[in-house]
Symmetry: C2
Subunit: 380 residues, 2 copies
Amino acid sequence: MPVSPNELSQLRQQIDDIDNQLVELLAKRAKVTARVGKYKSKVGLPIYVPEREAELIAKRRKEAEQLNVSPVLVEDLLRRIMRESYHTQNVDYLCTNPNIQKIVVIGGAGALGRVFVDMFKRSGYPVQLLEKDDWENADSILRDAGLVLVAVPIKLTESVISKLTNLPQDCVLVDITSTKQKPLAAMMAAHKGPVLGLHPMFGPDVASMVKQVVVVCHGRDGEQYEWLLQQIRIWGGILQQTTAKEHDDAMVFIQVMRHFCSFVFGSHLSGENPDLQQLISLSSPIYRLELAMVGRLFAQDPVLYADIIFDNKDSVAILTEFSAKFNQALALVESNNKGEFVKQFLNIGSWFGDYAKQCLVDSRKLLLKADDDRSLSEDC
Amino acid sequence: MPVSPNELSQLRQQIDDIDNQLVELLAKRAKVTARVGKYKSKVGLPIYVPEREAELIAKRRKEAEQLNVSPVLVEDLLRRIMRESYHTQNVDYLCTNPNIQKIVVIGGAGALGRVFVDMFKRSGYPVQLLEKDDWENADSILRDAGLVLVAVPIKLTESVISKLTNLPQDCVLVDITSTKQKPLAAMMAAHKGPVLGLHPMFGPDVASMVKQVVVVCHGRDGEQYEWLLQQIRIWGGILQQTTAKEHDDAMVFIQVMRHFCSFVFGSHLSGENPDLQQLISLSSPIYRLELAMVGRLFAQDPVLYADIIFDNKDSVAILTEFSAKFNQALALVESNNKGEFVKQFLNIGSWFGDYAKQCLVDSRKLLLKADDDRSLSEDC
C-alpha cells in the first residue's frame, strides 16, 4: 500500500509508542528480577544459573520464529537484559561461613583488593584492612583472622607473605597475585595452615563477578577453604582449577606476550607519528577495534604492566623467540616469497583448527555489536 | 517481603510472560519499520538517518530514567533493534541514475564484487558481469556501459585496467582495490573519461552497507559520478574522502601492520604449541578477544593477506622499523630496566592522548557485550 510523508510521521509515531511500551516492560521486569535476587541471596542460590538462562532463551527463540522475528535478535536482547539484572540483583549475598571471626585483606584499599572487600562485606563478613602503615599493629589485626587475603602489588607479594608467620593455625591464607608459583611457595613456607592461590582474571572495573573467571591453584588443606570457593560461586564467578606451574606457563602467552606486543605497537605508532584521527576515520571496524585494544593499554598503570612483563622469568626467552619468528616472516616479505608465506599460513590455520572458524564467527558477531555504537565507530 | 520456593517459580513465570510480551512487541515493531523501509526506498531517503536515531534514543533514555530503568540498557537494546531493522528494511533502493544504460562489474562473481552487484540490482540498475572467461566478448559487453566497476584481486587490478582503453568517453571507471595510488594512476592512463577510486572498508560478509566506511579518492570529472556517491549514501555507507597517497600511507598501518603481527603471533603460538583449550579457559575476556582477533585471520584466504602485505611498497621498511622497536623494548626487559619502560610507556600514552582513555571506556563496553555471549567466552 502507498505511503505519504504524512504517513511516515504516523509510522514513526507508532515506533515511538512501541519503544515506549518496551521501556515500561523493562521497568516491570526489573521489579520482578529484584525480588528473585532477594530470594536468591537469602537462600544462597547463585545469581547466574546457566541452565535457567539457556532454557529461558530457547523458549523465547522459538516464539520469535513463530512470530517471524529474528531469534538471534531476541537472544541478543535477552542476554543484554539479563546482564543488567545480574549486575543490579546483587544487593546482598548469602554468607557461606557465618561463623568466621574476621577476614583481613592486606592491600584491601588497592583497586582489586577493594572489589573483594566489597563482596565480602555484602556477604555479611566482618572485614578489616591491613595497609602499609598498619604493620606495627599487624599482630593484633591478624590475631583472630579466619581468612587473610593478600592483595598487594606483585613486587611486594612475597615480602608481605614472608611476614605472615604468626597466623592462627586454622586461618586460611590466600593471595590474588597474577603469578602463582612464587606466591604459593612463599605462603606454604610462611604458614602451616590452609593455603590457596587465586588469580582473578578481571580488572578492578568489573560491574560484578558474574561470569568472571577465577583461576584456583590449591595449596594445602582444601576442605578448610571450600566455603570460600563456594562463596565465589555464589558471587557468580567461574572457577578454573590448574597447577601453579601450568598457570604461570599459560600467563606468559596470555599476559606477557599480548601486553608486550601492544606496548611495541604503541611505541612504533608514536614513533612513526601518523595522523591518528585520519587512521581512525579510514578504518574498518576490525582495525578500529584492534587499535582500541592497543590504545587502552596506555590509559592504564605503567608499573602494573612493567611488573607483569618483567617479573615473569620466561618473558625474555619467549619474547626472543617471538622476535625470531617476526624476522623470519619479514625475510619472506623481503625476498617476495609469497608461496612460503601462504604455506605457513595454512599450517598455522591447521594448528588453530576449528577454533579459527569459531573466532571468525564470534568476532563478526562482536563487530556487529561494536557497529551498533556510533561512538565506538567514530571516536575510537 | 518474604519469598518461598513456590514464589520463585511464580516470579519466573512472570518473567517469562514479560519476555513473551517483548517478543510480540518486536514483531509489531518489525511490521511498522518494514513499511518505513518501503517508503524510504521509494522516495530515496537513506535507511540510516543519524539525527532520527539520536532523537529516538534520547527520548527513550529520558523515559527510562523516569521509570528507574538504566538508560544505558535502553540505548543498547534500541541500537540492537535498529541494527536489525536497517538490515531487513533494505528490500529495494531508489536509483539515483535511472537513465544509465548498463553497469558492468568486472570480477562481479568474486566475494566483494557480488556485494556491489547485489546492491546495484536492488537499486534497479541493469548489471552485467565480466568474468575472466568473457574477455573475448569484452568489446560488446563494455560498449554501452555507463559505469565499469573493477572488482578483481589486487594483483590483477592493473593488468585488467590496462585493457580498458576503449570505454565510451562518458563511462565512469571505478575500482574497489585496497590500494589506491597504482590502480588510480592506471585508470587515469587507460581512460579519458570520469575516474574514481573507492576502497570499501568492509569484508564481503557484511549484512548491509549501513554505517560502513567507503574511502573515496577522486580521479577526474567528479560531477559525472556524483550520482554513484549519492547512491552509496542511500545504501547507508559513510564516505571518507582522501588522496590516494594518504590512503596508501594509512593502509600500511591499518592493514599491513596488524595482519602481519597477527600472522607472526599465530606462527609463534603454533610453534610453542601451548594447550589452546587451557589458554582459553584461563583467559580474561580481553585476552579471549585478542586471541580471537588472531585466530580469525587463519580462517580466511591466505592469498588475500599475502597480497595485502607483499604488494605494499612500504611494507618492508615499516616492518623493519617495527622489528627494531621490538628489540629495543626486549633489551629493556633483558636488562631489567623497568624505569625506562615506564618512562616510554608514559610518553606513548601522551602521544595517544585522550584517545587512550576513550579506547578504555569503549573497549570495556564492548567486553561487556562479549561477556553477554557465553559461547564467545567459553569456546573462543
